[in-house]
Symmetry: C2
Subunit: 345 residues, 2 copies
């Protein structure tokens, strides 16, 4: 955590004062936000014929972030991305968030100012209103839960369970960069643990840091899909890693999948750092997680239209459930996908 | 925490297995729950001309509950009450919840089964659907965030900010019982700390334990108000204590208040235990918190109608903002109300 010039204790402000300070400067920009922060609950006006889409996501200090190298402003931005990404994965437009904070007394008010500056930046960038929340003291580390609310017409909404036989598996962006960004930060933390005035070496890997510390939600994809009138048959956001999330989609859709290793997009910096660390970049791409890219399926007939977006790679296709989920290597071997991650051991 | 006969480690089930197990047996009962758990987000169909009301509430181990004496089944019930109570305070009908869990590996799966049994019981009792959530491993204690979603017609919705001059201040139930229940549990924990096979003494105070461990959301009040066609001018749920919550209502409504000590309903067991512990029961009622009762205001002309509900006490009235918030004692003294609680020191 960067050194704060001024340190105001949370106790100096009290609950009302703290909430007033943190939520100042959040001006609602969506007409659907009838009442926001400052009441028992937010009131949202659904658009005509629209459904409301709601998701919740938590990040915990020590598990999801390490405050020794995670700037709070970036953390604020990232929690909004994590929550909003679930709304995008339903093909819905995010419009409100509620932020529930568990804060420990060790954090000064200025640190929370930074956190909220990041939240505010994300809200402004993606036209999302802060519509409420909850602030509590905890005995332990920082815990942040963001509930994201969005809206969509019924016929636009995309679930995980609609993938059909031979559908193309499409992916936005590239994978593994966030994970390698985390590995880089962890390496520098280890190396510089006992150094006074540490100067971490990040040159050449700035993209990895940005993907890890400040991932952007793929609102651009939703706009592009809507413009091309493409409604995916299924969609999921990539938070746990391609292998795990593809398997979740296949499980919900009762199907299998074949994805091709050479088609999985991996950024140059990801490959470069993986090689430097004697790691396989494909492992980062398959199991790293926190990419916040979108994985979706479209019928085979839509191949040209989906490629014309210029934002998407087709990495494989859907197969019958009985065949399972496989990664096909360039030499033609099939490797069965395995989910990794939770619970961490 | 009670001894578990069987202990299944969370790691044995994995994330999918755990979520499947915990969410089994939750059958949606609201037509508005179009899609529930099992996708990136829940999809909710608003009723015609209805608004969606959303609130979020977190409980943290070590701050909001102590697992040495808080049975997980009751905790599950209570978190639903805490979240739903905010929806009720908007005069809206709760219909869905999302549950976000931060769990530590020290808890066996059977403990989470108990927690979800309590959540399921509350959902069934109040016709609420579990529509999603998030389960993460944490390094520290148990953290539970519940997002509650409800609905109401615009003209029914009641904010904190509508109290008018001379409005009557109305209160459901009685106050301080939950706080005295907590004090009783803490006392027995202290007394029995070094005892093998402890037998805590709760006889005569069962009501206090129930109010603390298993408070019921006041859905009955909403039904009663609707039947009598009473729409309060303002409303708030009592989670922080009467003094703090009344002051919040007055702050939002830009008014003052006078409440009368002898009109504040306090249960016999609350008074009895307070006397046994050499405490003033009024302090428990004013500052104890966690009552989950509703505090609301109605115009003076509605006094008879509101009293005819048989569920409500009129404890005072609204005054100009400049006069502040006061408690009037039987001897006619005015005591200025002060908010207590957050942040805990």
């Amino acid at each position: 955590m960067p050194q704060q010039k001024k340190r105001t204790e949370i106790a100096e402000l009290g609950e009302f004062g703290l909430i007033d300070r943190l939520t100042a400067g959040f001006a609602p920009c969506n007409a659907s936000t009838l009442r926001g922060a400052g009441d028992d609950a937010a009131v949202i006006a659904p658009g005509a014929d629209e459904r409301i889409v709601v998701s919740t996501d938590s990040l915990y200090e020590g598990v999801d972030f390490d405050l020794t190298y995670f700037p709070l402003k970036h953390l604020g931005y990232k929690v909004v991305t994590a929550a909003v990404s679930d709304i995008l994965a339903m093909n819905a437009t995010p419009s409100q968030i509620l932020v529930s904070l568990g804060i420990s007394a060790k954090l000064p008010v200025e640190a929370l100012d930074d956190l909220y500056a990041g939240i505010r930046f994300a809200c402004e960038e993606h036209k999302i209103d802060l519509a409420g929340g909850d602030t509590r003291a905890t005995m332990t580390g920082l815990a942040i839960t963001v509930t994201a609310i969005g809206h969509a017409r019924e016929e636009q909404i995309v679930s995980r369970n609609g993938a059909g036989q031979n559908d193309l598996i499409c992916l936005t962006g590239n994978l593994g960069a966030a994970y390698m960004g985390l590995r880089l930060l962890e390496r520098e933390k280890r190396v510089l643990a006992d150094v006074t005035d540490p100067q971490p070496q990040f040159a050449g890997y700035e993209y990895l840091l940005e993907k890890y510390l400040k991932p952007r939600p793929r609102t651009d994809i939703l706009t592009a899909l809507a413009e091309e009138k493409i409604v995916p048959t299924s969609m999921i956001d990539l938070s746990d890693g391609l292998a795990s999330d593809l398997m979740q989609l296949c499980r919900a859709s009762k199907c299998g999948a074949r994805i091709y290793l050479e088609r999985i997009p991996i950024a140059k910096q990801t490959t470069a750092l993986a090689e430097e660390m004697h790691m396989d970049p494909v492992v980062a791409a398959l199991n790293g997680g926190e990419d916040y890219e979108l994985l979706f399926t479209v019928p085979l007939t839509m191949q040209e239209r989906v490629m014309s977006l210029g934002l998407v790679d087709v990495i494989g296709h859907i197969t019958p459930e009985s065949t399972g989920c496989y990664l096909v290597t360039p030499d033609g071997s099939d490797i069965r996908l395995r989910a990794q991650g939770f619970p961490e051991k």
